[in-house]
């Protein structure tokens, strides 16, 4: 493991969702490619994306995984786990005891493979944290809840978690900011994908206006849909345009300052690196110095999500993003 003071730049395998789903790489092949390209050593892996045995990893698999990581010089920092409460669509969520056990299974698996923290989700009701946090302490693995669009530092759910964090007062619980919640504009690459799907310019102009208006994401999506249908836009074009409401929000980039102290890991969400070496929608020059100057010493993993609308393999995007972030962290 590399131990360098200050923030580290790594990568999540989620960035390579396209070559993963098309079977261009198996897990070992993808990890070797990440290592070969020097994108680590610190990496994040979504348990339910990359490990077939998840949520119950066997001892044999865990040993093999750890040996491979050592051999290729990667450091498994974050394992993303899921709060799957709604196992039967349209029915009641699973009971609390089952949900707690579901988290414990994933925590055990992550620990066994050598991860030092897990990413968890707000879908876990905050009142269950007192029953899970002691187990994380016992296992010696930290838990960071992902603050993902439409959430941001000022969202009521984040505030409720913050109050519980104050009450439990343990270094094993923290935040994982995802910068998609503080985008300054809709990525041009996303608009281009909607254009390629046939969306007309008038629809995209209206999208850009509505996206900046106040309100909840689903309300804004409804507002655009109502307008667009009345204007004769096709449902498929409206759907392509509406993606922006569900993965991006335009909260103040400086709002992350309130969460820096308890940030244990970061999702460096991004969509497209321009020829100028800058991200097209998220203002990294404003956001990253908040963490750098606030003493953040964990890992920010580059998380390219352009695969939501592009078939690119993500590798060159991640390389450009990492170069930008390393430069900003270096001050």
């Amino acid at each position: 493991m590399t131990t360098t003071a200050g923030a580290q730049v790594g990568v999540t395998l989620y960035s390579f969702t396209n070559p993963w789903l098309t079977r261009q790489f198996d897990l070992e092949g993808l990890l070797r490619e990440v290592s070969r390209r020097g994108m680590g050593p610190n990496i994040e892996i979504i348990g339910f994306q990359s490990f077939k045995e998840f949520p119950d990893i066997s001892d044999a698999f865990a040993e093999k995984f750890k040996e491979l990581m050592t051999e290729i010089g990667l450091n498994p920092v974050s394992c993303a786990i899921n709060s799957d409460r709604f196992l039967k669509p349209g029915q009641q969520p699973i009971d609390d005891a089952s949900l707690i056990e579901y988290h414990k299974r994933q925590l055990r698996s992550a620990k066994k493979m050598g991860f030092s923290l897990v990413r968890y989700q707000f879908a876990l009701p905050v009142e269950l944290l007192p029953q899970i946090a002691p187990y994380a302490e016992e296992l010696d693995i930290r838990m960071g809840v992902e603050v993902h669009a439409p959430m941001w530092a000022g969202h009521p759910a984040v505030q409720a978690y913050g109050e519980m964090y104050d009450k439990l007062d343990t270094p094993y619980l923290g935040w994982i900011p995802d910068f998609g919640g503080t985008a300054s504009r809709i990525p041009e690459s996303m608009l281009d994908a909607a254009r390629a799907a046939g969306a007309r310019e008038g629809l995209l102009d209206r999208l850009k206006e509505v996206w900046l208006e106040p309100g909840m994401s689903h309300e804004k999506a409804g507002r655009l849909r109502e307008w667009a249908l009345a204007e004769g836009h096709a449902p498929a074009h409206i759907q392509a345009a509406s993606l922006a409401f569900f993965i991006l929000a335009n909260n103040d980039p400086k709002s992350w300052a309130a969460l820096v102290d308890r940030t244990i890991h970061i999702h460096g969400k991004f969509y497209g690196m321009g020829a100028d070496g800058q991200e097209e929608a998220i203002d990294y020059g404003t956001i990253l110095p908040l963490f750098r100057d606030g003493g953040f010493a964990g890992t920010m993993v580059s998380e390219w999500e352009g695969h939501a609308y592009s078939a690119d393999d993500g590798f060159e995007q991640v390389e450009a993003h990492q170069a930008m972030c390393r430069q900003i962290f270096a001050g």
């Binding site: 989620y14 969702t17 396209n18 993963w20 789903l21 098309t22 079977r23 198996d26 979504i46 339910f48 994306q49 077939k52 998840f54 949520p55 899921n82 709060s83 799957d84 409460r85 709604f86 196992l87 039967k88 669509p89 969520p93 699973i94 989700q121 879908a123 695969h307 939501a308 609308y309 592009s310 078939a311």
Partner: protein, 126 residues
């Protein structure tokens, strides 16, 4: 079509003496419990196929499609194909067919979200 939208598996269509097997991919970025996935519609050459007797085969296991909603602890690994087996649907090996399949996913951590994923492809029955 993006990789994450694909529902017809690379292994395609195979005709057996007593039925038909169709490879399926999970149209999501991560594995999901089978209970949160719905095989919504299948049509072959424009004719809807009755899925009442269909079986789902995955990783050495098999269960009736009608009971898939109970499979809360069986996970469809996102990189694997699962197979839909249709007893009594007989096709000539080597013949070509237009297959239209729709799979719905209900991500279990996003209450109320249902995404429909239709795909149509011309396949040769192996």
């Amino acid at each position: 079509m993006l990789p994450v939208e694909r529902v017809i598996g690379e292994e395609g269509l195979s005709a057996t003496a007593d039925g038909l097997r169709l490879a399926m991919r999970l149209p999501w970025y991560r594995s999901l419990p089978f209970s949160t996935v719905e095989i919504a519609d299948l049509a072959i050459d424009g004719v809807p196929v009755d899925l009442g007797m269909a079986l789902v085969e995955y990783d050495g296991q098999s269960w009736p499609l009608a009971a898939m909603g109970e499979q809360t602890n069986a996970f469809w690994f996102v990189r694997d194909s699962a197979f839909l087996y249709l007893p009594g649907v007989i096709l000539t090996p080597g013949s070509e067919h237009t297959v239209a399949l729709t799979i719905n996913v209900n991500p279990p951590y996003i209450p109320g979200m249902k995404r429909a994923n239709p795909q149509t492809q011309l396949l040769r029955a192996a």
